[in-house]
Amino acid sequence: MKGQVFEIFGFLILAIAILAVIVLMRVNVAGSIGKTFLSITDRQYSEGVRAGINALLFTTEEKTGKSLLELIGISSYTGKNKIDFGKKVGEVDVEKELEWRFDAIYGKGHWQINVPYPNISKDIQIVFVIDTSASLCDDIKNLANNLPDMIEKLRKSGRRVSATIYLLSGGAPCCDYTISCDKFPTKSYLHCTNLARAECKSLQTGEGQMQTEEDWGHGLVCAAETGPKEGWQKFSVRVGIPISDELPMGSECNGQNYCCVSNRGAYSAQDDSLQAGIKASIENGMRVFPIKANPCGTICGIYQGGQDTVFTKTQCDCSSLVTDFMNDIADKTNGKMFELSDASDMPRALREIMISAQETRGKTFTLGSPQPALKNIRAVTFLVPLPLPGIYAKAYFYEWA
């Protein structure tokens, strides 16, 4: 009996051994073949995803003709997913442009793109349009004393700020100096130039009848159209700062030396100048931050060869109308009006403008569906060139079946 039991045991051991060999073969041989196959196909698929991304990012958006890679670069620079290409082209929604293409190729819910925006700030380009009448003597002096240092400090802190000062034609002789560009140092990021009537056609409006040294409305037209000395950079923060204590073309009512606040119709030429300034600013994407100098008090200027102190009653009476005009252009161009209590208040106004002009930036650009758990996710990283030389953002693309 023992012998039979051993025989049966022997057979069972043999059977188990053979079955173990079969199982081992299935798991090891077939498994390794399967793994090799999967890894090769996966590698091939990953390469396909990479090639596909490159091809898709090379495609262009219809209105701008810019490639999707360029658009992501501009988004990373501006910190916004919607890019305004101006009046002619309009706004481009980068998210939408990417979304439909990726959905078409990889399928909805099977991809995600993530672009952390680099920690940069946009170029800030400022154009000043300055009333050069004698009532601005102290304000311009204060601006000249503070602006160069202020810009230099900002630049040292990493902000790319530049300013071009346009002095409206006139250049009144003040008691202690004459308003001119000599007051401003010339640097690569700071320039001053006279806004000559011959070159600025807009300023020729009302010439001979109205005061062009105060025509900051038409002056803004020229500044917005011409841009700063270096020209408008693409996608920079464009800031226009008119400085005056009067209405554009003067606060005088129908050319008479008095103010008629209640008769707004008497200021139609001034209003035309303002509207022209608003239109040009909007068309050129320039935000206007007017600085209203204090129009009340006395001014010291050279009149008929001699020094004289004049009380600015007309300007003072029209103060509220000037505020209305300046608020109007600020509101319509997404800017802000600053009112100086006196000339020494200029640095505060400039500082506040610098802060207000900074646009809020998004931190990251994420599009697509959240990455699922327990899925084989293929990732592709690529560099996105920004519209700044030598600066790139990193973009991460994820795809899953």
């Binding site: 059977a15 073949i33 091939q44 090639a51 439909w100 959905d103």
Partner: protein
């Protein structure tokens, strides 16, 4: 009694051992068969990928070349080349990406976003029109491409391939290869041993090689031939390139 029990158990054990060994053999055979099939599929997939990549990235094929820099971009294809290929290669694979082992046809679809959703706006197609009849190994897949109209107009698209590894493709591939070699004066004589599953006929009017008995699938050949139709079964063919023509016996 003990002895009789032993007489029964021993043959049963023997039978069971043989059965187990057969199971082991069958298992090994299945694994090898599966490995072979996976290998074939992988070969087909790799070949199809290579053809797509060559088509999209070779100057001789569809690749877009920037006019000033003369540089190429990954998977960016020239719309003018697409138009040209659709006309010139409506029934045969272009030489720039020709495979002598497989037959394939390419379809490129331009994608557009409309109010109704994403639509295939335009289509281009080229390559072999017909393939070996029956259940033959094949793969279908696509990859994204950028269709370049100009530097400022680049549209997204998908380039898809249908690749077939059949008898007709293989035989026609050998003839086309001999034709190419003959034209280059590199080889004027060769031989081919084949086991044909469907009858092979030659249509001199269209210069096509056809496979199948009732429903025929045909492929255009590169060279004209003097060819005697072949029945099912094993054949040994000698191929001679004579004055731009293949003479097959």
């Amino acid at each position: 009694m003990k002895g009789q029990l032993s007489f029964i158990i021993k043959p049963i054990t023997l039978v069971m051992v043989v059965a187990l060994l057969l199971l082991l053999y069958q298992s090994i055979s299945t694994s090898i068969g599966r490995q072979k099939k996976i290998g074939e599929t992988l070969d087909l997939t790799a070949s199809a990928t290579n053809i797509l990549l060559i088509l999209a990235n070779s100057r001789d094929c569809l690749a877009y070349e920037a006019p000033l820099s003369k540089s190429l971009y990954a998977n960016a294809i020239d719309v003018n080349r697409l138009d040209e290929f659709s006309k010139s290669y409506s029934g045969i694979e272009p030489e720039c990406a020709r495979s002598f082992d497989f037959g394939w046809r390419i379809t490129i679809t331009e994608l557009r976003n409309t109010a109704k959703g994403i639509v295939g706006d335009k289509n281009w197609t080229f390559g072999a029109r017909q393939f070996s009849p029956g259940n033959v190994p094949s793969v279908d897949f696509g990859m994204p491409v950028a269709i370049v109209y100009s530097e400022k107009i680049v549209k997204p698209g998908i380039m898809s391939i249908h690749l077939v590894d059949g008898e007709l493709e293989k035989i026609a591939g050998v003839f086309d290869w001999d034709c190419a070699m003959g034209r280059m004066n590199k080889l004027t004589k060769s031989s081919l041993g084949i086991d044909i599953k469907s009858p092979i006929t030659y249509d001199s009017g269209t210069n096509s090689l056809c496979s199948g008995s009732k429903i025929k699938s045909c492929r255009i050949l590169d060279c004209e031939m003097a060819f005697k139709n072949l029945d099912q079964g094993k054949h040994v063919l000698t191929i001679n390139y004579v004055n731009g023509k293949l003479v097959i016996k």
